[in-house]
Amino acid sequence: MGEFKVHRVRFFNYVPSGIRCVAYNNQSNRLAVSRTDGTVEIYNLSANYFQEKFFPGHESRATEALCWAEGQRLFSAGLNGEIMEYDLQALNIKYAMDAFGGPIWSMAASPSGSQLLVGCEDGSVKLFQITPDKIQFERNFDRQKSRILSLSWHPSGTHIAAGSIDYISVFDVKSGSAVHKMIVDRQYMGVSKRKCIVWGVAFLSDGTIISVDSAGKVQFWDSATGTLVKSHLIANADVQSIAVADQEDSFVVGTAEGTVFHFQLVPVTSNSSEKQWVRTKPFQHHTHDVRTVAHSPTALISGGTDTHLVFRPLMEKVEVKNYDAALRKITFPHRCLISCSKKRQLLLFQFAHHLELWRLGSTVATGKNGDTLPLSKNADHLLHLKTKGPENIICSCISPCGSWIAYSTVSRFFLYRLNYEHDNISLKRVSKMPAFLRSALQILFSEDSTKLFVASNQGALHIVQLSGGSFKHLHAFQPQSVEAMCLLAVSPDGNWLAASGTSAGVHVYNVKQLKLHCTVPAYNFPVTAMAIAPNTNNLVIAHSDQQVFEYSIPDKQYTDWSRTVQKQGFHHLWLQRDTPITHISFHPKRPMHILLHDAYMFCIIDKSLPLPNDKTLLYNPFPPTNESDVIRRRTAHAFKISKIYKPLLFMDLLDERTLVAVERPLDDIIAQLPPPIKKKKFGT
C-alpha cells in the first residue's frame, strides 16, 4: 500500500439542522424529511435508506407540517403562511399558495387523498381541494379561539380532531361546525400554571382520539360522547409527536427527553376478545427532543433536534431476521460537501449559507507508522464567502488549480476568480452568469481548470469554457429522460465526462467531440459516487446497495476485474455497511488501486490481490511483521480497510504520499445543539 502522511482535518464545523417533520409514503416506500432550515429530503427506504433527492432550504421557510397526498404529491406548510407543493420530477417547488390564515401549524391530507386540511394561527381550520395541477380553497370550518396545533382525519373522512391549547375540538366535515370541545387537564391530576399544548392528535376508526400534550400525557378520548377514557403519564416533559400504524393496532409517540414509546393493542387476557392499549417498548436513541415520528408497516421512524434520523424495525413485523432488521441511524450527509484543490492544498467547505476556504498546514518532521507529527505551519482560514440572499447553497466546487470557485443556489449561479499573491488571496466575481446555469445540482471543473461542467435540475448538462477572467458557453447535453439528482465525473485527461441521474443509466460523453459516447447499463439502485481513473479511463461507480462496478470507457464494457467481482460477490460485511460511499479517488502512479470511503471506514481496493470470499476476515488489521510471509500472503486480499479515521466526511489523495481525511466527531456536533431536557441521575 505504501506509506502516507495523513492530514487529519477537524476544523470543518459542520452542524446539520434538526429534523422537524417526517412523512412516510407507503406506496413508494419513501420518506420525506423536512429540517429546520427549510430543506426537504427524500429518502428511498428500499434503496438501502439512501437520500435520493433533496430540495434546498430557504431562510424564511419554517416548515411545520409535511404530508403526502394521492398520486405521490408532496405538500408542506409553514410559519410563513404558505402551502407549497414540491415537484419530485423536476426537483423544484411547483407553487406556494398563501392560506390567508397567518402562520400554518398543522396540515393533514384526507384518507382519500383528495382534500387537504390546514390548521392556522388564527384558530381557523381551512379545507382545500386538491386539483390535478393545483390546490383550491374550499371552505373554512368554525373558527376556534386559539391556534390549531395538530390535526387528524377520521379514516372515513367524516370527522376531524383538532388539537389546540388546553382543548381538543371535534369537527364534522360536512357542516364544518365543532361537534365536541374536550378540555385537556393542564397537569396529570393536578393544577399547573403552564398552558397545556396538545402537540399531536390521532383519530382511530372506532372513534377513539389519542392526544399527546406538553404535560407528558397520552390520553384516549371517546369522540362520540366527548369524554376522557384513559390517561397515561409517560414523561416528565412534553410528548411531541404521535404516529399510528395503518392497521391501527400500534402507535408510536416521541417525547422531549429523546425517548420513543411504542404502544400496542393487546388482548386483556390471552384468549379474550377485549383489547386494550398498552405501552410496550421504550427506545432511547435520541438525546434531544423527538419532534416527529412516523410508523411504516415494519418500522418506527423518529427524528428530532439532535439531527439523527432513526429507523427502528419492529421485530414482530419483520419476516426475515437478517441485517435488514437492525437499527439504522442516519447522521452524516449522503453527498460530499467538501471539494479539494490538490495543487495548492486547499479545501472548500460548503455550509448552508456560506463557503469556507482553508489551506492545509504543513510539517517538516518525519516519523514512523502511527506517529503524530507536529505542524510547522498551521492550517489557514483563507476565505469566508457568504452567499447573497436567503436561499441555501445547493452545491459548490473549487477547481484543481485553486483559481476558480463556483457555487449555485436555486435562483443564481456564482463564479469567482481567485488570485494568489504570496500569502494573500483576492477574489473577483464573474458577473452576468447565464440564467440556465442556476439551480445546478452538481458542479465540476476539469483537471486543467479550463472547463466547467454544470448539471442543472432541468436535466441539461452544460459545458462552459473558462479562460482568463471570462467564460463562454460551449455546449449543452439534453439527456432523454430527466430524473435529476446528478453526479458528475470527469477524466483527468479531459476527454470523457460521466453523468448519472437518469433512469437509463450513467451516460458517458465525449467532451472533445461534444457527443454521447456510451451509456452504462441501468442498475436499480441509485449511484452514490463516481470517478474516472487516469490513464486507463475506467469509470468506477458505487451504488447505494454497496456494489462497486468498474466500466471501461474506451472499450464500452465492464472490465474483467469487475466481472470477476460480480461473479464472486462482495463480502457480506461489505454489503452490510450502513453508510454510502461518497467519494472515490485514484493513485496517480498505481493504476491497480482504488481509494474509496464512507462515513466509518476508508478502503483501498488493490485489484492485483485476490478477492475475499465470505469466510475470510474482511477487516484485516495490519499483520504484525513477525508473522511469516506465508500467513501474510494467505490473509491478504484486495480490500484494505482502515477504521482509524472516523467519522469521515471526506478523504482524498493529495499527491503520491499524502492523504487528507476530514473528520467530524459526533460530540462536536452535539456540543452545538440546542439545550436538552434535564435528566436527574442519582449521585450527581
Binding site: 410563513n80 407553487y95 416528565n236 443564481r412 452535539i670 456540543a671 445543539l673 440546542p674 431536557i677 449521585g683
Partner: protein, 219 residues
Amino acid sequence: MVQLRPRASRAPASAEAMVDEGQLASEEEEAEHGLLLGQPSSGAAAEPLEEDEEGDDEFDDEAPEELTFASAQAEAREEERRVRETVRRDKTLLKEKRKRREELFIEQKKRKLLPDTILEKLTTASQTNQNKSYLAVRLKDQDLRDSRQQAAQAFIHNSLYGPGTNRTTVNKFLSLANKRLPVKRAAVQFLNNAWGIQKKQNAKRFKRRWMVRKMKTKK
C-alpha cells in the same frame, strides 16, 4: 221643591246642545269623538244647558267659534301632512348633500391614486412573477406577515425553551456520565476557549509584527 230638569245623557245631549245651531250631518261622528272633544266632568254637564240658555239670551253676537269637529280634524290632518312633507324634503336634501360629498371624496381619492392601467398591471403581475428574478411584494403585507411569523416563532421557542421548561446545557447533559464513572472525570467541555478572542487575535498580530521587526534588525 225644585223640579230638576231632566238631565240628558252625556255625549249625545251635550253634542246635541252644542250643535243645535250647527251641522247635523256629523252628529254621529261627533258622538264618537265626544270624549275627544274634552268632555267636561259630570259637574259641568249641566253647564252647557245653562250656557246654552244663557248664550241664547245674552251673547248673541259673541257666540263662540263654530269650530266643528270635522273642520278641526281636517285642519289637524293638514298640519300633520305639512309636517311630514317638510321632514321628507329635509331628509332628501340631506341625502343629496351626503351623496354629493361622497362623490367629491371619491374624485379626490381617484386623483391621488395611479391611473387604472398601472393598477391593472400590478394586480395581474403579482401572480406571474415565478419565472422572473425579482418579486414584487407589498411592504404592508410583508410587515404583517413577518410580525406574525415572528410571533409564532416566539411562541414555539417559549413553549419549548422558555421559562417553566426543564432544560439544561449540552455540556451538563453530556457530563452526567462522567460524574458517575468509578474514576470521576472532568466535564466534556471543561475549557472555555471562547474567552478573550479579540485579545488573543491582537497578541497574535503583535507577535507576528515583532518577529518581522526582529528579522529586520538582525539583518
